[in-house]
Subunit: 324 residues, 2 copies
């Protein structure tokens, strides 16, 4: 089985690649080759199977056509311009997240081999006033250009699947937590920061109230969602190809209590409450909980609880050792 | 005030043009010039004001740029490839209904004058299993490429309005009834046919069960919706720029009872029940009633009842005379 991953150099792309190489199979069939695409060269994994690294921009004409020329049987489409960039640079966001996606769907249609396509969309298709929890059939009103672009691409993925050009599944991922790496400027960054930094013995800032609830998935759960979407029976999806995925919905206070259970009070003492009105003004517009009943019924599994999310980080990023 | 109408040669485009010329004003301001755009030349109305007729295809590069070069203060965007054509000719539908719309939104952004934009979308954004009535916040799942394309363009209209590039309102119109002109091949054609043909003394076929309910708006009400959308205060819309409009929800049997009240039993006797499984298979997938609460609260007014819809047809198409 030949598999294409776009956005392969990103955090989830790398973890997905590692998982596929480690498993050696997908849905019971051997993985025979991988194509890893990104705007920067993806690091090829240590693997016995042939890996092709392709560097390029999906918004370039012919880029998509070249990627599907070898007729990958499964396409994981993770590439995209992130939320903040799409808001700051309107033309870039629409070029990549809308026209780049349209070009990919169209190239797959023209290739004619009807592959499984797994598309990472986003909970940011929702915004403004929403019920808590958000029901599966609630109309999304994106409050960002990023959410708009991802939702437009979702709709075309549905239509192209309905028409039989490919077999698409769109995944609205919860916030990924604990995100490895350095602190970044994203408004959501603190959800990971208040866990990741204290686990390394470093201070972290909490800019929002402790009772604020948010939905999370570990990187390992996110990769599990992608694998499940690539191998599931898509017949029960009918025309509704885009799914809200289940997360672990916890308050910030519950995140911190979980950190104390896993790493003790010294880790928790490194968190400093420092209200930030600018961050809070963004975060408070985000949905908190999602019903995600369809996805659960279709076999998508969230992490067990936030303790499990922290343990995944300790195992996968810290060699299984809790410092302290 | 300079006004641009795309799709001006179509039935609603012609009636909108007539109404604007007759009123001479829009929202209390004089209409000083009209640009009428369509793929075929729109017939210029008998009007004292300057009318420019432009023939062209919005999917052509530079077509949109040319249309907005004179900075129309209000743009009624009615142009598009119809549902059946968009399903039969995938590339044409996406070129016009998606890329043509994107090109228009983008040309308006680049023109920089922030006009009011009134966009005719469609109830065909809904499909498959829906509640009856459909609530305003129910997630649309289009079951056609047409509905997909219109919904994608709605989303971008919302985003460009949120970002302040223009002041957009998207209108999901109910089925227009009584549609003047000849019978056509559309699956919805009989809803108008069973009224229009008997009023002309001609036979009509009813292909679906009499208890089937559907939502209707007269052409006059549809033009009223467009005028209201062009002149309303858009502040209460917030980020939700696309509205389900109110219609008259009646069963086919109630349509026929109204025909009898307006035109007598001889008209009704011209309707022949002839079940058509192919038509019924399409029609039965359509939503029946819509709540349309937001649009009502925002001042959009449906026809009073189906008798009123028939009387509009008699007044506007038959010179006020009921044959008999």
């Amino acid at each position: 089985m030949h598999i294409l991953i776009t956005g392969a150099a990103g955090m989830i792309g790398r973890k997905l690649t590692e998982r596929l190489v480690r498993d050696g199979t997908l849905g019971g069939r051997p993985v025979t080759s991988l194509t890893l695409h990104d705007v920067v060269p993806a690091a090829p994994p240590a693997a016995a199977l042939p890996v092709t690294v392709v560097t390029g921009d999906l918004s370039d004409p012919d880029a998509a056509e070249g990627l599907v020329a070898h007729r990958p049987e499964v396409i994981f489409h993770l590439a995209g311009v992130v939320s903040g960039t799409a808001e700051a640079n309107l033309e870039l966001g629409y070029a990549v997240n809308l026209q780049g996606n349209i070009a990919l769907w169209e190239a797959i249609r023209l290739a004619g081999h009807r592959p499984r396509v797994v598309y990472t969309s986003t909970a940011a298709v929702f915004g403004g006033a929403v019920p808590d929890p958000v029901p599966d059939d609630f109309a999304p009103t994106p409050m960002s250009s990023y959410g708009t672009q991802k939702l437009m691409a979702e709709l075309m993925l549905s239509d192209y699947s309905r028409r039989g050009f490919f077999d698409g599944v769109g995944l609205r991922l919860p916030t990924i937590c604990v995100r490895p790496g350095r602190p970044n400027g994203a408004a959501s960054g603190f959800f990971s920061g208040i866990i990741r930094e204290p686990l390394r013995g470093l201070p972290a800032v909490l800019p929002v109230p402790r009772d604020w609830v948010h939905s999370h998935a570990s990187p390992r759960a996110a990769v599990g969602f992608l694998i499940h979407a690539a191998t599931m029976d898509t017949a029960p999806l009918g025309a509704r190809r885009n799914l809200i995925l289940p997360g672990v919905a916890v308050s910030v206070g519950e995140q911190i209590a979980a950190l104390e259970r896993v790493a003790g009070p010294r880790a928790v003492a490194l968190i400093r409450e420092e209200p930030d009105e600018a961050v809070w003004a963004i975060v408070r517009t985000w949905p908190q909980r999602y019903e995600a009943k369809r996805a659960r019924d279709l076999g998508f599994r969230a992490d067990a609880d936030f303790d499990a999310i922290i343990r995944v980080h300790v195992e996968d990023e810290l060699g299984g050792v809790v410092p302290g």
